[in-house]
C-alpha cells in the first residue's frame, strides 16, 4: 500500500528555491543572497508560492531617486571646471534626491488608504497592535510594514475585530488562535519563556553576586593582617622619627 504512492523523488521540487516576497531593493538583494545560500547548501527547501504584492510605488520612487543621483554624478564628472552655476545645480539635484529619498521612507508604510478605518482612535489602536504582529510570509517584518498579501488580510481582520468592539487583547487573540504565538513579535511571558525573559537578568545578577563575594573575600584577607607587635612598633617609630629630622 505504501509502496504504491512512492514514486520518483521530486528532484525538481528541491531545486527550486523558495521565493520570499520582497518589499524593496534591499529585501530583493537579501532574498537573492538567501536563495544562493540555500542552493549552495543544497538544502531541500520545499518551494511555495507566496501570495505577494511588492511595494511598487516604493520601488518606483527608489528608481527616480537613483536616476537623479546618476545624472547628478554625470554632471559632476563632465562639468567639474565649469564654475559655480553648475555646481549649484548639482547641489540642488542632490537636495531633491535627498528629499525624495526621505519621502520614499515616509511613505513606505504598507497600510493602504483603503484599509484604514475612519475612526482615528480605532485606526491608532490597529496600528499599535499591528506593529507588534509578525508577518508570516516575510518573517522579520511586522504586518504593519509588510506589503505581502497575507499581511493585508491580517490587517483587515484586525480592523474588523476592532470595529466589532473587540478589546486589544481579544483582537490579538483572534489572530494568535489562527497563526499561533509565533505571530507575536514579543513572546508572551509564560513558564516556557521564563528563561528567555529572565535569563539575562539572572545571569547578570549571578555575575554581580559572584563579583561581590570575590571582592569581599579579597578585602577580608587584607583587613585580617596581623597587627604590629610592640617590638615592631617601636622600630617603626624610630625609623619615622629619623625620617622627620
Amino acid at each position: 500500500m505504501t509502496g504504491a504512492i512512492m514514486g520518483r523523488p521530486t528532484a525538481e521540487a528541491r531545486a527550486i528555491p523558495r521565493t520570499p516576497p520582497a518589499a524593496g531593493l534591499v529585501d530583493r538583494v537579501g532574498a537573492m543572497i538567501r536563495g544562493f545560500v540555500a542552493a549552495a547548501e543544497a538544502k531541500a527547501l520545499p518551494p511555495r508560492h507566496r501570495d505577494t504584492e511588492t511595494g511598487t510605488s516604493n520601488l518606483a520612487l527608489t528608481f527616480v531617486v537613483a536616476s537623479l543621483w546618476r545624472r547628478g554624478n554625470t554632471f559632476l564628472f563632465h562639468t567639474r571646471n565649469n564654475g559655480l552655476a553648475s555646481g549649484l545645480k548639482i547641489v540642488r539635484r542632490g537636495c531633491l534626491a535627498a528629499a525624495l529619498l526621505l519621502l520614499a521612507n515616509l511613505t513606505s508604510q504598507a497600510v493602504e488608504p483603503s484599509e484604514q478605518l475612519k475612526n482615528p482612535a480605532l485606526e491608532a489602536r490597529a496600528r499599535t497592535i499591528s506593529s507588534g504582529l509578525r508577518c508570516l510570509v516575510c518573517q522579520n517584518e511586522t504586518i504593519d510594514e509588510s506589503s505581502a498579501g497575507l499581511a493585508h488580510d491580517i490587517r483587515i481582520l484586525l480592523r474588523e475585530r476592532l470595529t466589532a468592539g473587540d478589546t486589544d487583547e481579544q483582537a490579538v487573540k483572534a489572530i494568535v488562535d489562527r497563526y499561533g504565538e509565533f505571530v507575536l513579535l514579543d513572546p508572551p511571558v509564560q513558564p516556557a519563556t521564563y528563561v528567555l525573559w529572565f535569563g539575562p537578568v539572572a545571569i547578570l545578577l549571578a555575575g554581580l553576586l559572584g563579583g561581590m563575594i570575590w571582592l569581599r573575600r579579597r578585602s577580608v584577607t587584607t583587613e585580617a593582617a596581623v597587627p604590629l607587635s610592640p617590638d615592631e612598633r617601636s622600630r617603626l617609630d624610630t625609623i619615622l622619627r629619623e625620617a622627620d629630622r
Partner: protein
C-alpha cells in the same frame, strides 16, 4: 580536592558557553523556520461552507465521519503544480477523500488548470477572498490539512507534498485515524 573544585569553578563558564552555543547550532539546523506547525493542531477545524467550483461545494460539517484531506491550492501557484501528480496518485489509489480549496483565484483559471492536468478532488470550494484560508491560518499555498472523523485538524503539511511525506507521515497517520 579543593584545588580541583576551584578549577571546576573556572571551567564552568566555558562549559556553560559551549552548551549554549551547541544548543544554538542545533536550533539553527533543526529544519526550516518557514515550516510552522498549525496553531489549530488537534483543534476543531474552523467552520466554513464554500460554493463549489464544479457543482458541489465544500463545507466543514459535511466532511465529518472519516479522515479527509483538505488541500489549499490556486491556479497561480507554481509549487502546487509540483505536488499535483502526487495528489492525482493519491486520488487514484483512493487513500483518503481529497477536497480542494481554491485560494484567492478566478474560477475559470482553476477550471482550466484541472481540465489540463486532471482533477484529483472530490469537490473544490471557492475561497475567492481567502477568508477560509485566513481562518485556517494558511500563510501561503499549497497547504494540506488532515482532518479526523470528528473534524479536528491532525496535521498540516506546508508547501508541496512530497512522496516521502506521504509515505512516512500521511499514510501512517491515516492508518491511525482508521483509514485502511
Amino acid at each position: 580536592m579543593k584545588a580541583g573544585l576551584r578549577n571546576l569553578l573556572f571551567i564552568l563558564p566555558v562549559m556553560l558557553f559551549l552548551a549554549l552555543a551547541g544548543y544554538f547550532v542545533l536550533a539553527l539546523r533543526s529544519g526550516d523556520p518557514h515550516e510552522l506547525p498549525s496553531a489549530l493542531l488537534n483543534k476543531e477545524a474552523p467552520r466554513f461552507a464554500l460554493a463549489g467550483l464544479n457543482g458541489a461545494g465544500v463545507a466543514r460539517d459535511a466532511l465529518k465521519g472519516g479522515p479527509v484531506l483538505i488541500n489549499f491550492f490556486a491556479s497561480w501557484c507554481v509549487p502546487c503544480r509540483i505536488e499535483h501528480p502526487l495528489l492525482m496518485r493519491l486520488a487514484e489509489h483512493d487513500h483518503v477523500p481529497l477536497y480542494g480549496i481554491d485560494y484567492k483565484d478566478q474560477p475559470e483559471d482553476a477550471q482550466r488548470l484541472l481540465a489540463q492536468f486532471g482533477d484529483p478532488y472530490r469537490a473544490v470550494g471557492l475561497d475567492r477572498d481567502g477568508r477560509v484560508g485566513l481562518d485556517f491560518g494558511v500563510y501561503g499555498v499549497p497547504e494540506t490539512y488532515v482532518l479526523d472523523s470528528t473534524g479536528r485538524i491532525r496535521k498540516r503539511f506546508v508547501g508541496p507534498l512530497t512522496a516521502q511525506q506521504v509515505d512516512k507521515e500521511l499514510l501512517p497517520l491515516l492508518k491511525e485515524l482508521g483509514r485502511p
